[in-house]
């Protein structure tokens, strides 16, 4: 273990960005990914440790306007308790229900969940179906610079993102979903609580004149990154949500999901579960 020589917990974003300008700090928010990773040795601390928790402008949920903005340090519990989000984006709130335990949810942040870039991260599939983008900021030439990239392009591989070392994730943003937007989330693990997803599925679409429009389907833990299931989406787009469409969507999952065997589940089981969940989620939407 490398020794931590500096610990910073600034109150302002620009201070934090200046501290990471050299790209050589260990950043954390809730620490619920960082602590187990450093403890088990898969990751080392850098000499400079930077906490984001005191930066007020990184927290909070803005849900009034056309664009919904969730600050990076917003905890999973805050999302779970947000009545605004329950109304606007229930699919996101649904995903917090099955997230870890109360203690972890109180510490874990949405920014940490995305930056950790686990294929099994539970915030990714619902945010992908909401068409979210992430906002990244850095300190360059004496000023705070920000850029936005679609969440889909953010994930590069397990633990790898498009975020540069000097950048911080400041917020996740998405357009207010239309009123007839329907969304669903489903995850599985062998236990009802405190479980890392074996696989997860999120679905989002509008139903106009009986036809599915703007379909987005996302999957977790079936590939190196959380992903949009383009083949499943294609099988659904513009179609009526009937038994034939659902069967076609289920069949298309094998084109999108390329899971692996690991200590948590076999590839067979993950593919099987994805089919079960896609079918379940679509049937559920169809019934309601």
């Amino acid at each position: 273990m490398q020794e931590i020589t500096t610990y910073l917990a600034p109150r302002r974003l620009d201070e934090a960005l200046r501290a990471t300008a050299d790209g050589d700090a260990t950043v954390f928010c809730g620490g619920t990914d960082l602590a187990p990773q450093t403890e088990s040795g898969v990751r080392q601390y850098k000499a400079k440790l930077l906490s984001l928790r005191r930066i007020e402008e990184l927290g909070g949920i803005e849900a009034e306007g056309h664009e919904i903005r969730i600050g990076a340090t917003t905890t999973i519990s805050e999302i779970r308790r947000s009545s605004a989000l329950a109304e606007i984006a229930p699919v996101l709130v649904e995903a917090t229900e099955h997230f870890a335990s109360e203690q972890i949810r109180n510490a874990a942040s949405v920014g940490g969940n995305l930056c950790n870039a686990s294929p099994a991260g539970d915030m990714s599939p619902p945010l992908l179906v909401l068409g979210a983008a992430v906002e990244l900021a850095c300190w360059r030439e004496g000023a705070v610079r920000t850029r936005r990239i679609p969440l889909e392009e953010f994930f590069l591989g397990p633990g790898k993102t498009a975020k540069l070392p000097e950048e911080l994730l400041t917020a996740v943003v998405f357009e207010r979903p239309v009123v007839d937007f329907v969304g669903r989330f489903r995850k599985s693990g062998p236990r009802p609580a405190l479980e890392i997803s074996t696989v997860s599925v999120a679905f989002g679409a509008r139903i106009a004149n009986g036809l599915l429009r703007g379909v987005r389907v996302a999957m977790g833990a079936v590939a190196p990154t959380p992903l949009r299931a383009r083949h499943v989406e294609a099988a659904l787009e513009g179609k009526p949500l009937d038994a034939a469409t659902i069967a076609a969507a289920v069949a298309a999952t094998t084109e999108d999901a390329k899971p692996i065997d690991d200590v948590r589940a076999s590839a067979w089981y993950r593919s099987h579960l994805i089919q079960v969940f896609v079918e379940e989620v679509l049937n559920d939407v169809r019934r309601n």
Partner: protein, 782 residues
């Protein structure tokens, strides 16, 4: 001293059967308890162990020079320093190894001022290994030409057991139905919340004091001594509060002699404590095995025979795990009335982690097989399934082929009570009929039972306990007993028994039971024995004290001793409960009279059981007991998830002593069994543990705990204290096969290799469906 009496005064209240809190509960709940893991001694050094991290290898080079030079390091030990210090059940283990036989083999150990320095020192130790081909299953280990793990155990053969009774060929010929299956119980581990920890300190006379989590302080000395090359008499064992044991502390494991050897070398106290990852890798497992079992019966449902051929994965060293056949065979021969038995078990060394003892001790594995085969036969015979169980259930007075004498046997009552309470017969039929109909969620109900020793187990020369009891000038009682408290609740039982006999409030009883230099001998907390054995010991000691007190009271009051009783802190008149003299006052009178007398009595209780013996044909426990579990589950046939909705338990407890403790033991025992059944699984690949953390090793958590319907059947055991029997292992033993039988009832699939994880269940159901719809016309077997 004539007084008017009221009705309430005359009624003698009994403590037995009440609900009492554990005295340590408030401190544990509030975090005040100082566990061994929290202990710090002045001048204490931290010991750390270098593990091999590979399953089988020769050590080509080992250089500790750099580690020794690191400031703050006080000692570095390696295999060279401990040559000849062999210990373990068959003396195949040493504290530090000169060859690697499993992943967690201890290669070197350091003692340093801080944990960080100790860790740094480990990193400075240079080791070169030459890896050797390994053996990772008992079948592979038993094969001709398999790599040898120990030079002096040819063919990798460890322990062997056999028991036979009756004419097998004849019994087979008489059988109309025979079920024949191979069961593969897996590796799980105890997951004590307090990780393994020992603190050792030598004085300059060569006496070792060791603070440990051991469950068997007296034989522990005998087992630890050879690992240190000292006399057992020079060891003092102190047992601070522990965070669980469940059988894992019934042996000496290398970290304990390592702590002691480091303490000796440095002349300072040394503490060794495992991290959670080390705990997963280096603590013992439940014994895994391959059980080939056959059970036969006639058409009318009478059992004819049972055979078991067991191959056990010994792991790299022999702890208590491979001795489990001693218990297994009692289940194979005694679970229901089995007229003919043939039992064989062989343990084979492998390069896997090795097994110790674990709550249920072989019966978990045995009942996994026997209780499933009983369910299979129940479907084949021409009589009602419950009838089948009842027909073969033993009754009081029967003797098993191994000569277990079932004196007070209420197996039939257990079966009838559980079946009636859960409406077993109707539901079983109804769910089976639903099995092949469409629908994602299927309900199932499953019955399982087992038999277990409930009055100790005389596997040593003695199964006894020593007790010293004193009553002081304030009528406060101290019981100095060999019975260890590891969280299981013997403290309350002892307090209640003293309260019952001496009429003092239970909170006036203090227990001293954590120092081998003070408390008298006991075998240890194991084999569901402590309430039975220590309960009897305490009762006998308390009755001696009672007799002395009543005699003194009789003299003081001019009454007859038999007309007096002790209630509510007073000497009372037996007839109407009228208080005559405060006990406290009497104690002082006895003490400060011209011929002073103190109440301090001793007792040594030895149960009337017989030693196990080499032939395994003896009444080795003073009592036996049965439990029946009926599990009701809902299976998601697509994801394979099993939700356990309700568990109905009917267990022969002899007599309820502390109702709350009993409920806790049964529910807690079932929680361990549920993990075994559904989720816990050490993923060992080529000798390496792949999931040494709670994220990937799935314990059962609160939301998965089912509804319980507990029925305590009181059989009033003549030899037991107030009629009580030992109770704590059966809950862990019986639940898994009950769920397996419920799974079959719901879906028609059986899983022979636990856990019944969602993935395994989903795959089995999927395969059954594919088979059923295949063109070559597979008919769904039901």
């Amino acid at each position: 001293m004539e007084k008017t009496t009221t009705a309430s005064l005359t009624a003698k209240k009994t403590m037995i059967g009440q609900r009492l809190n554990k005295p340590d509960a408030p401190d544990k709940a509030t975090g005040k308890t100082r566990y061994i893991n929290d202990m710090v001694l002045p001048q204490m050094l931290i010991g750390k162990v270098l593990f091999a991290g590979r399953p089988h290898a020769r050590i080509a080079r080992l250089d500790t020079t750099a580690a020794e030079k690191l400031p703050g390091v006080h000692a570095v030990l390696t295999g060279k320093d401990v040559a000849g210090l062999k210990f373990g059940f068959v003396r195949d283990n040493v504290p530090l190894k000169d060859k690697v036989r499993c992943e967690h083999d201890e290669i070197a150990a350091v003692a340093a001022e801080t944990e960080e320095i100790a860790q740094r020192a480990l990193e400075l130790i240079e080791v070169e290994y030459e890896d050797l081909p390994g053996v990772f299953t008992p079948e592979d280990g038993a094969r001709e030409g398999a790599p040898q793990i120990h030079d002096n155990f040819p063919g990798n053969k460890s322990l062997h057991f056999e028991f036979k009774d009756g004419d097998l060929a004849e019994a087979e010929a008489a059988s109309d139905f025979v079920v024949d299956n191979v069961f593969r119980p897996h590796h799980v581990t105890h997951c004590c919340m307090g990780t393994s920890c020992a603190i050792a300190d030598f004085d300059h006379n060569g006496k070792l004091t060791i603070w440990t989590q051991t469950q068997y302080p007296y034989n522990y000395k005998m087992d630890l001594a050879p690992a240190l090359g000292i006399h057992p008499g020079n060891i003092r064992v102190i047992q601070p509060p522990v965070g669980g044991a469940f059988g894992s502390k019934l042996d000496v494991y290398p970290y304990e002699p390592i702590a002691a050897l480091l303490a000796k070398k440095t002349a300072r106290p040394v503490k060794v404590m495992y991290s959670r990852e080390e705990e997963f890798k280096a603590s013992p497992t439940r014994q895994s095995a391959i059980i080939h079992m056959r059970t036969g019966c006639t058409r009318d449902g009478t059992l004819t025979f049972r055979t078991a051929d067991v191959l056990m994965d010994n792991g790299a060293y022999t702890s208590w795990g491979p001795t489990i056949p001693v218990v297994m065979m009692r289940t194979v021969s005694g679970h229901y009335r089995v007229p003919v038995v043939d039992f064989k078990a062989q343990a084979i060394y492998t390069n896997n982690p090795y097994a110790g003892s674990f709550r249920g001790y072989g019966n978990v594995q045995a009942a996994w097989a026997t209780a499933q085969q009983m369910d299979m036969l129940a479907d084949l015979v021409d009589i009602d399934p419950l009838e089948f169980h009842l027909k073969n259930a033993q009754k009081s007075g029967e003797v098993t082929p191994q000569k277990s004498i079932l004196n007070e046997c209420v197996f039939v009552e257990c079966l009838e009570t559980a079946a009636a309470a859960s409406d077993y017969g109707r539901k079983r039929k109804e769910y089976a009929a639903e099995r092949n109909k469409p629908g994602r969620y299927k309900k199932g109900i499953g019955l399982a039972s087992s038999i277990h020793n409930a009055g100790g187990a005389k596997i040593h020369k003695s199964d006894g306990i020593g007790t010293i009891l004193k009553v002081d000038d304030y009528a406060r009682v101290t019981v100095i007993t060999g019975a260890s408290e590891i969280g299981q609740g013997i403290d309350v039982v002892i307090m209640m028994i003293v309260a019952e006999e001496l009429g003092v409030p239970p909170e006036h009883v203090t227990i001293v039971n954590n120092d081998s230099d003070i408390a008298p001998w006991d075998v240890g907390v194991h084999a569901s024995r402590t309430t039975f054995i220590a309960g009897n010991g305490t009762r006998r000691a308390a009755q001696k004290a009672r007799a002395q007190i009543l005699n003194a009271a009789a003299r003081a009051l001019g009454e007859l001793a038999e007309d007096l009783d002790l209630r509510d802190g007073s000497v009372v008149r037996n007839r109407d409960g009228a208080p005559l003299l405060k006990l406290e006052r009497l104690m002082r009178q006895m003490h400060f009279q011209p011929e002073p007398e103190l109440v301090m009595v001793t007792d040594y209780y030895e149960p009337n059981s017989e030693p196990e013996g080499a032939k395994y044909s003896s009444n080795s426990s003073a009592a036996y007991s049965h439990a029946v579990h009926i599990a009701e589950i809902t299976v998601d046939t697509l994801t394979g998830e099993i939700k356990v909705d309700k568990v109905t338990v009917a267990q022969d407890v002899g007599r309820v002593i502390n109702r709350m403790g009993l409920e806790g033991q049964i529910e807690g025992g079932i929680a361990i069994g549920l993990g075994y059944a559904l989720s816990e699984d050490m993923r060992i690949e080529k000798g390496m543990l792949k999931n040494p953390c709670f994220r990937d090793y799935k314990l059962i958590t609160a939301p998965e705990i089912p509804t319980f319907d507990l029925h305590f059947i009181e059989s009033y055991c003549v030899e037991g204290p107030y009629g009580a029997k030992g109770i704590s292992e059966l809950p862990t033993i019986v639940i898994a096969p009950a769920i397996a039988n419920a799974l079959y009832n719901a879906t028609g699939v059986r899983i022979f290799n636990p856990p019944m994880s969602p993935e395994k269940v989903a795959r089995a159901i999927h395969e059954r469906r594919v088979q059923a719809t295949s063109p070559d016309g597979g008919v769904i077997p039901s």
